[in-house]
Amino acid sequence: MSSKPVNKDLIGSLIFLALSIAYGASAQLIPFYPGDEYEPFTARTLPFALSVLGAGLSFSLLISSLKKSREVSLDQPVLKSALGYDWSTVIKLLALMMFYALALKWLGFIIATTVFLLGGYWVLGERRKKVLFGASLPFVVAFWFMLTQLLDIYLAPGQLFSAFGG
């Protein structure tokens, strides 16, 4: 007898169940002032209600997914369908976004954005130098000019430059 593949609803319900329980447990950390016990509504009321509601709904989804998987063979195994996707590019893009946040703080808008765009084009497979450089630095400078000179938005220089500049 072959085991049935884990279906998406089952995974989803377990995630939400765990999340609801964790949320409810964290709601205990919300400060409770003296006298709050006599109040009909406190800062904890809605979080507790949501935690119970979330757990109840996830449990219902869990039951229905188990019932369904017994009745019919459901969708493709999650792992098998997910493996066909272009994960490496997506992971690189997400890492690039994290780097962008870091670079914005330390290197400032122009350098960080130019590197981000260049990196993005490269990660997605763009190799033409004309496109790589033409659609990054000139665009960023024009955008920076629009923000700082036309819209009068202050963009702080990177902390690295501020440190060197005193």
Binding site: S20, A27, I30, P31, P40, G54, S64, Y100, L117, G119
Partner: protein
Amino acid sequence: MLDGILTGLSTAIMPMNLLMVFVGCFVGTFIGMLPGLGPISAIALMIPITYGLEPSTGIILMAGVYYGAIFGGSTSSILINAPGCSSTVVTAFDGYPMAQKGQAGKALALAAYASFTGGTLSAFFLLVAAPALASVSLSFQSSDYFALMVLGLTAVAAFSGKGQVLKAMLMTVLGLMISTVGTDRSSGVERFTFGSIDLMDGISFLLLAMATFALAEVVMAVLKRDHMKEEENETDTSNLGSMKVTREEVKEVAPTAIRSSVLGFIVGVLPGAGATIAAFLAYGMERNLASVKEKLKFGTGSLRGLVAPEAANNASSSGSFVPLLTLGIPGSGTTAIMLGALIAYGIQPGPRMMVDNPDVFWSVIVSMYFGNIVLLILNLPLIPYISKLLMIPRTVLVPMILFFAITGVYLVSFNTFDIYMMVFFCIAAIGLRMLNFPMAPLLLGFVLGGLMEDNLRRALLISDGSLSFLWERPITAGIMAVTIIVLIAPIAQNFLQKQRSQKEAMTGSSRS
């Protein structure tokens, strides 16, 4: 009402506002054309720009983007069989076969005329319905509002399709949970901040919208890149054919457009139903009304099959403004984003909006007419040129969209922590999308979370902690009754269907 219309007209015809209608429709058409990016992403991307504008101008711009995005979605449905948003999926059923027969121009023109009919008729209905409903809802109290919000959130889940009800409800609850992060507005107590200063103000709705829609939709498109490449190969926008529509064709589709507009508007007004359901219903209705011979044409390039969903989805877009403007309750993800933007402006949509901010209220309604005219007169002739933008390589377009989404959030807070949070929510959204969880209820729950808690608190305080406020007032009790019906309907339908199929199986086996 005439005073209001004149106020709206004078605001809407201001050069800046007219320019915004044009810009909104144009940008919306372009973003809506990009497969995968729908109106929610289009509006989210425009929000940072609107912060520098007057409230009425900002909302007019967003409304323009909304119709533009739906129109743009139809264009990519017809030209490349890749719907820009879910509400234009049905358009591809007959629009794409027409394009394959060399009638892309005619299909685009018919889609534009149908959208114009749907948009114009529904803007008229909105003009009548919104003030009437707003005057009724002036007598609403906090318990009624709480009940309405529960109804709105429940309806979104109930209309989300077979097998999706529980998932949509869970996403709504998740949205409500996220809305509780930050300092509690009433007691000043910190909730779920875990000592982080960056979380004290809560999570911005713009951040959540950008991360779960604009970012996640683009990243999902990259994730399924092989599929995208196939679509790109099919793209041929160089020859659209004639855009002329004959008198006979107009005669054939005119009743369809009117019927579908009325249906679309009604569906749009219902909280949670939205443009996608309106388009599917209109298509189904038209197919049922068609003769046997005509029925066979559906799916192979039927004019009625193209016009019905187009008129309905545009009418539904205007219809969804009714609960937003009069009750302050968004009926869809798109109007939820607009509600967030209005709140950011310090405007509270609802019955008082017509009294407190008549310029915003009426100018949005009046600008809908202009928006539809812009789409018809300016966008239609520009389609061959706008569709050329689809030729921009994805390798350039994707990082640009990511950049605009990230910068849009960063330029509001100037806090790089927000970018990390965006990445976090984007990853979570990708996971949830892969597990087939709908995203719009999350946004709706998040936007309504704060308002719902305020109204629940007030109602409970008034009733001295008793839940009797839910049935003491006839309005609240009525709304709660509708909520229960909406909640039970899909379960009952499911049960009846099962019973029927069991009966059929039994009679089948007894015959054999």
